[in-house]
Symmetry: C2
Subunit: 416 residues, 2 copies
């Protein structure tokens, strides 16, 4: 390894084709924000857009906004924009509800599509818990004879494709380790076995190149408030491949998924296309923020450039931590190999919680995931190379001075 | 009837104890907004609060806002505030998701609580369609042997309480006619028959006095964006009586309803109390708007005063339309009797759609509900008596000049 200096990192920023994208966001001076994988930063266009939405669209246009300001087709419009970022042709994705609720719709739909005898949903125990919980909730509702949750290690999925598996549900990039599946290969193996494939893209959309159509994925869900920068609790999204869209109806049969919501018929009739996967009235203000982020931050972004910078940021971070914090008890908990890594790097440390609190106090914001992981997300649109240098610099000082070992840094907050 | 003049209505406004509440909202001059039962008006405090939420909480505090700005307990906090408006002691209501999604949780929970042999959900065909659709979606998922939807006219509910009924699901105030059920009497009859009672309060919360605890209701849902003024697509709410809260878990078992969301256990364990009825990450910005509306518009409001003014506005509206538009083909479609009427008045007219478009053009905003209803909502916090006079005045001119009968007023919009 080269003996880097801070000046080297400033030079990398000067040469970075994505550097101008940082101006698309509002970030406090001095803050090094490495938690965009939990809540994405504020798009610079958001405050004004929101003010317009509140004072003009809600306040003045009121109910007419559903037509004149096109609130009514936000779910499809925003869905298509997200689709463009994850390799989905228009008409296969909609935005709305939470990732959890969207999972429920797709899990139920997949079980309904599955051939007789296939009732297992296969996943891995390291998946984001809500994904597993939603299967458990569905299983309890429909009964174990119609839905079984089976968990095998993420590396053993393709060896576990028995003929009772209806659906494989995996998070593309693991929320703890950042380990990334080979979407193409896994999808192919799953489908070759006769099962359907659902990808949770919560840590992928806007983070790594994804090609849902190219991989022939069946279903996907994902989060709007992480790498997509849609704002706190932003609407989530779901994807149903065109070939499956109209095969079944899904159980959260709300009026916005009806073929004619304003006819007020008493019988549910699912809408044409992916719109049948909508449920209730969409959260308009949140949807407008997500749309603003997609337009103002993501329009025209080359995901190959994002990926290249993301991997380089991660490599440099690993290299600097391992060198400068050597002997301080950190163990890399993310894949070193680029092809296996998403856009985050985690290190394990027995005092991870307190160290992260000390880092946050030093204006380097990552987060902690139980039991011992310090998690750092890289968001190439606004993370600079020099941020990596400075973050590790501050971490090194904290470790050398042992300044993390204060009672205040051990106090657990409600949200970690 | 007295021969009213506009001056009489101005006098009523002078004597109105709720008149100062109008300043809690931002409304365009000249606009007469009688559609607060579809989308409530903008609270005057909302733009500044939203700007703070976006630029400061999201933009500057970022992920720490879950703790420092208390985003994490928004669902319970907002739920309790709504509870105070509908007669629910704290700890029984949470805000979040849509009304439709919340219905699904409660329908499934109610079926799980029901004794063996009770599998019918009884409702009326005039209920808001999404309520019926959600039962149909659930029925399709669990099978007809576990869930049946039975519909009888709203006036015949208490005569239809056979011993296979698990749950009666009614909207307290009908969205078309404004007809209101006697919540106390119906709940008592339903429970005496051994069934559970679920009230949809979408057209009641903030519109009429409701006493969920006093009526011994089992479950309720309701809408945040109508009379509560929470903004377009605001989070909805649900209520589970304390005695039922922990009897079962509900199927939309997302991580926010887990007893320890940040332990990331792989097994779902429902939270204590009504929090187990939460699912995914809450829509923070929408939730903050709903909280702002509840604080800035509803705090300290006496629902008895709201009810008194609402009924008087309705009576006067009916009286003026029937007198001044006599012979123009309107038929009252709402109960004349106060005790049977919520906070809206509907008139049927074969050309209802075009007439409503002409009215909107004249800056009197109500809405149209198929097949032939002109619907007018009264929101006593910001509807003035003189608005009633002026609205009928403009309607009368439209009818006398037959100015509604233009091609432009017959063109149907996406949202009616």
């Amino acid at each position: 390894m080269t003996a880097y200096t801070r000046a080297d990192f400033l030079k990398m920023d000067q040469a970075d084709p994505l550097a101008p994208c940082r101006e698309r966001f509002l970030l406090r001076n001095g803050l090094i924000y490495l938690d965009g994988n939990s809540l994405g930063a504020l798009p610079a266009a958001a405050p004004e857009r929101m003010q317009h939405a509140v004072t003009r669209e809600w306040g003045m246009d009121l109910i007419s906004s559903w037509n004149v300001n096109r609130w009514i087709d936000l779910p499809q419009r925003v869905g298509d924009r997200i689709g463009a970022l994850v390799g989905a042709a228009p008409g296969q994705a909609v935005a709305g509800d939470s990732t959890s609720v969207n999972l429920f719709k797709l899990l139920a739909a997949a079980l309904k599509m599955a051939p007789e005898g296939r009732r297992v949903i296969l996943s891995d125990p390291g998946n984001f818990p809500t994904d597993l919980y939603m299967v458990q909730g569905l299983r309890e509702l429909v009964g174990e004879n119609r839905c079984e949750l089976r968990l095998v290690d993420e590396t053993e999925i393709t060896g576990a494709l028995t003929d009772d598996v209806a659906l494989v549900m995996l998070t593309h990039v693991n929320f703890r380790s950042g380990r990334m599946h080979d979407m193409q290969a896994v999808t192919r193996a799953v489908q070759a076995s006769g099962a359907l494939m659902l990808w949770d893209l919560s840590h992928s959309a806007g983070a790594v190149p994804v090609d849902l159509d190219g991989c022939n994925a069946d279903f996907a869900v994902g989060c709007g408030y992480k790498y997509l920068n849609g704002g706190p609790g932003a609407p989530a999204f779901l994807y149903v491949a065109a070939r499956h869209r109209e095969r079944v109806s899904q159980p959260l049969a709300g009026w916005m998924g009806h073929e004619s919501p304003f006819v007020f018929d008493i019988n549910y009739a699912p809408a044409a296309g992916v719109s049948r996967y909508l449920c209730g009235t969409p959260p308009v203000l949140g949807m407008l923020m997500l749309e603003t982020a997609l337009e103002s931050c993501w329009d025209g972004v080359d995901m190959a450039q994002v990926r290249e910078k993301s991997l380089r940021l991660g490599d440099l971070f690993i290299e600097l931590v391992e060198k400068r914090c050597a002997g301080h008890g950190f163990t890399l908990a993310s894949p070193r190999k680029q092809a296996l890594r998403g856009s985050q790097v985690s290190f394990a440390h027995p005092d991870g919680y307190a160290i992260m609190q000390a880092l946050i106090k030093a204006d380097v914001v990552g987060d902690f995931r139980a039991p011992d992981l310090l998690r750092f997300g890289f968001t190439p649109l606004y993370t600079r190379y020099v941020d990596i240098w400075d973050a590790v610099d501050r971490l090194t000082a904290i470790m050398q001075q042992r300044s993390w070992d204060k009672p205040e840094f051990h106090q657990r907050a409600a949200v970690t």
